[in-house]
């Protein structure tokens, strides 16, 4: 799809062809930067670029205007090749005020484009964001030579372009973000049509304010024309469409894909879905998304707290629905007793944890992957659950379907570990053919397994060790489930020591046997050799890109990614054994590393940080190079000693 420029002209500047560009929009949290970035992304995706986004916003909904802690940003990388991350360094940034510039500038590459709304660089605003008295970056030669800075009086130009609209100053000023989007759209040759369609639909149709839609569209076009006619920019960029597998695509965020995945799972099992949750960042979009899908048989329940949410989900599972609850780390802690009960009941359900930076309230809008050990061990006694983790936004869909497949297969709770980076990030998604997704087989017995006696709810399938899932309403199958230890078979309360040992082992073994449903781990790069970088969760993009880069540099580095944390894929040990050094980068202090060392008694090198953000590719490349160098040095020294 070629960009449809609203008018001819401006073509006098020959565009520079780039393989990929990273653009960041930043401004006050009330400046509409998320929407602006989202629209730019949609236009790029529709154009055919591969895309990856990273929204970064404060926890404060409307922090005082102009302060640094109220800055909201949206980063997008778009490329003519396959990409896996939103990019390390920013090539072009739009800063709507001095606070946004101040907090985001360090991520812009030297020589990068910096477009600022110069009207906002007033004495008051500069002071508000903590610049030294009398300092204005726009008058700082060092700043002006280090970057390609384009100060544009966007507030004034937006007002001037909308003077004839007859609309109030407040409405007019709100259109500044669209003016900025217009400028950037011109810079990268992006069509305005998707945004115009969006504005007409959102303001015109949904909000019934067509005059606001018109106002925004005028501002958008004015920004574009400004870019075209002002000849301010000596450059224009062209990023060609990326080769992608044929099919129909859409842009999707992790939370959106999670919603669709779980709805699909329920549909594939011919089940209704109960989603019980208590609002918590960054998981709340799940209930927002699911609550509008009632016509799919989705029942959403905003519970009074996290414990009620998980408990209601378990109640729904007992009664035969697909039961789902979602939260973030602190909520998972609250749910842990009930999850233990679901382990004891042996009922299928899925618990979503969209991880965020902790401990405690931590940094709610920032990402982290430090709940793995909580998911694994954060319950009383021996209480094993299945753990899965999507690798990126689109992957949430497949992993959600897989989560229920495993839950039903093993009659066991499954924890789905997403994170803030995955949940809010977006990428193109090749929409799957729903018919091609295999059904999830669910059987509810309707005849007793113990003629003449009480039904036996804890008689197991000899292969999977799963118990049956009889549901209330079925005559003759009346039975009780409870948190007290149960006798194998009958489910009656039992304090027998051998029975308890047997049941604990069986519940653990049952989880391990679910590995039968898990595809083998595959590697990218050399099948054996010096270094394997192993990841899980949201680090997939950074690790994959770093691995590709290292191999481009001629280094023998392979990468692999775990979607299943418990049980592991059956071939994990064999894969690990093929490499001399295993490196695990994690946004925690080495939780998967701990599990791998514990399980396989092998050494693993960690790359760990807790900065509330994803690894930069460059960091991983540098650290892996250092590890390789150190190891080959050690090997050489070792050979010397042995010689």
């Amino acid at each position: 799809m070629p960009p449809e420029a609203p008018a001819s002209g401006g073509a006098s500047i020959e565009p520079t062809v780039r393989e990929q560009m990273v653009v960041r929009f930043c401004g006050d949290s009330g400046d509409g930067m998320q929407l602006t970035g989202g629209q730019f992304t949609t236009s790029s995706a529709l154009f055919g670029n591969d895309i990856a986004t990273f929204p970064d916003f404060p926890a404060e909904i409307r922090a005082p205007r102009g302060t640094t802690f109220g800055v909201s940003g949206f980063q997008v990388q778009f490329a003519s090749t396959e990409i896996y991350t939103p990019g390390d360094m920013v090539n072009a940034m739009v800063a709507m005020n001095p606070a946004a510039l101040k907090t985001n500038l360090e991520d812009v590459e030297p020589g990068g484009i910096v477009i600022v709304n110069e009207d906002e660089f007033t004495k008051v605003n500069l002071r508000k964001c903590g610049y030294d008295e009398g300092y204005n970056p726009l008058e700082d030669d060092e700043f002006l030579t280090r970057y390609r800075v384009f100060p544009i009086p966007m507030s004034r130009l937006t007002r001037e372009s909308l003077t004839d609209s007859g609309m109030g100053a407040k409405d007019v000023d709100r259109c500044r973000n669209m003016y900025a989007l217009g400028i950037v759209s011109w810079l990268f040759g992006r069509s305005l049509d998707p945004t115009i369609d969006f504005l007409n639909d959102y303001f015109g149709t949904q909000k019934k304010k067509p005059e606001i839609a018109d106002l925004n569209i005028s501002a958008l076009k004015s920004g574009y024309f400004f870019g075209e006619t002002a000849e301010l920019f000596p450059v224009r960029y062209e990023v060609a469409p990326a080769p992608q597998n044929p099919g129909r695509y859409r842009r999707i965020s992790g939370n959106e894909a999670t919603v669709l995945g779980f709805v699909t799972a329920a549909r594939k099992a011919k089940k209704n879905l109960v989603y019980a949750s208590y609002p918590i960042t960054p998981a709340s979009d799940l209930i927002h998304g699911l609550s509008r899908l009632k016509h799919f048989g989705v029942k959403t329940f905003q519970a009074e707290d996290e414990i009620a949410a998980v408990s209601a989900a378990i109640g729904a599972a007992f009664a035969g629905d697909f039961a789902l609850t979602g939260t973030s780390g602190p909520g998972l802690a609250l749910k842990s007793e009930a999850v233990g009960l679901a382990v004891m009941y042996e009922l299928p359900m899925v618990i979503i944890d969209v991880q965020r930076a902790g401990p405690a309230t931590g940094m709610p809008t920032k990402t982290e992957q430090a709940d793995l050990l909580q998911a694994m061990y954060g319950r009383t006694s021996e209480s094993p659950v299945i753990i899965v983790a999507p690798a990126g936004p689109a992957d949430c869909f497949d992993v959600a379907v897989q989560a229920f497949r495993l839950a039903v297969h093993a009659m066991c709770p499954v924890i789905f570990l997403s994170d803030g980076y995955i949940a809010n990030g977006a990428e193109p998604w090749l929409i799957p053919d729903v018919e091609a997704i295999p059904p999830i087989e669910v059987t509810h017995p309707d005849v007793t397994n113990n003629e003449g006696g009480p039904y036996l709810p804890y008689v197991r399938d000899p292969d999977t060790l799963a118990r049956p899932w009889p549901i209330p309403g079925t005559p003759g199958l009346e039975h009780r489930v409870g948190g007290l230890e149960k006798q194998e078979g009958t489910g009656n309360v039992s304090y027998d020591p051998d029975n308890h040992d047997h049941m604990c082992r069986t519940r653990a073994e049952k989880v391990q046997r679910a590995a039968a449903l898990i595809p083998p781990l595959t590697v990218r790069g050399p099948e054996s050799g010096e270094l394997l970088v192993l990841g899980w969760g949201g680090t997939y993009g950074s690790i994959t890109t770093a691995g590709d880069e290292l191999r481009k540099q001629g280094l023998p580095v392979a990468t692999a990614h775990l979607r299943h944390l418990n049980p592991f894929p059956s071939n994990l040990r064999a894969v690990l054994d093929r490499y001399e050094t295993i490196v695990i980068p994690e946004i925690n202090f080495g939780q998967l590393r701990t599990l791998i060392r514990d399980r396989f008694l092998i050494d693993v090198v960690g790359i760990n940080e807790m900065k509330g953000r994803m690894f930069r590719v460059e960091e991983l490349v540098t650290k892996c190079r250092a590890i390789l160098k150190e190891r080959s040095g050690q090997a050489a020294a070792g050979r010397k000693r042995h010689a």
Binding site: T42, A45, L46, G48, P194, Q244, N245, P246, G247, R248, Y249, R250, R251, L260, V263, T264, R267, A276, L293, K294, H295, F296, G297, K299, F301, A303, E304, D305, I307, A308, A309, S311, A312, I314, G315, A316, A317, F318, A319, G320, D321, A323, A338, L341, I431, P432, V434, P454, I471, P472, G473, P475, G476, L477, E478, R480, V481, G482, G483, V493
Partner: protein, 339 residues
Amino acid sequence: MPDTALPTYKAKDFTTDQEVRWCPGCGDYAILAAVRKTLPKLQTRKEDYVFVSGIGCAARFPYYMNTYGMHSIHGRAPAFATGVKLANPQLDVWLASGDGDLLSIGGNHTMHMMRRNLDINVLLFNNRIYGLTKGQYSPTSEFGKKTKSTPMGSLDYPVNPLQLAIGTGCTFVARSIDVDMKHLEAVMLAAAAHRGTAFIEIYQDCNIFNHQAFFYASQKDTKADATIELEHGKPLIFGADREKGIRFRGTKLEVVTLGNGISESDLVVHDMHDHGLAFLLAQMTHPEFPEIRGILFQDTERKPYDELVHEQLEQAVEAHGHGDLHALLHEGDTWEVTG
């Protein structure tokens, strides 16, 4: 649910093969017997009952009922029961738990179940003590109560379960007592017929840790003066010779003796649909007042939450059609890549 005639059940049909393990003489036995006797009188199939409980002595209840049952975790029974009703509103869900479980650790969930008006029958076994943990004071224990954890007397002011229920918008609120099985059965029948949360506070004797806590309300010689049976549309009269009554004095209630110019027409007439009156009557506590028995309040208008949830599902299907998964996945801006 099969489309055949309802079988005739007997109490023993609701009895499991599990030995009941409450202490001999515990009030729970009488409640269990009353429930087993009540269920055969209802138009519900055995397989459609679900008994849900939390933790505590009373919470062992489901193990002894030959129905579907969930013995859950401490305090959360209302939430589990809510989930059962969300999944299948056709099920007849009963919740049996104690004062510690439902009013202390689970107070939050009890409140929210009642305000949402889930169609659940709640049996609150109130013995004003912690039994299973061996004798600490409970949220209904009287102020100053000396227990193992309060050797100098409890400093907690007790919660009034009926007022809590009325205050949170519960649509059916009643009180009964373990030893009066006929009364208990009658109240349970009315609760079972109610659509919405039916909350029954049952005075229950813990004969080990708080024996005779409700003697005043159960013994022949005291109960006529210490309790008052509520009847809708009837004046509030009590006493061994029905010589006493309750009347308004300003905005407050007072006990009066009939005669000497005070007649029945001066007394408060019970209106079980009057929310404000219910709150006042719930406040009456021994020994200043007789404590109420029977149905304190009922709101027959409000629809149960679970019913509304399923109505919304139907409305959504009416408005958008039965969800089309293919269309859902293709929502929003999509683009085609050709090979």
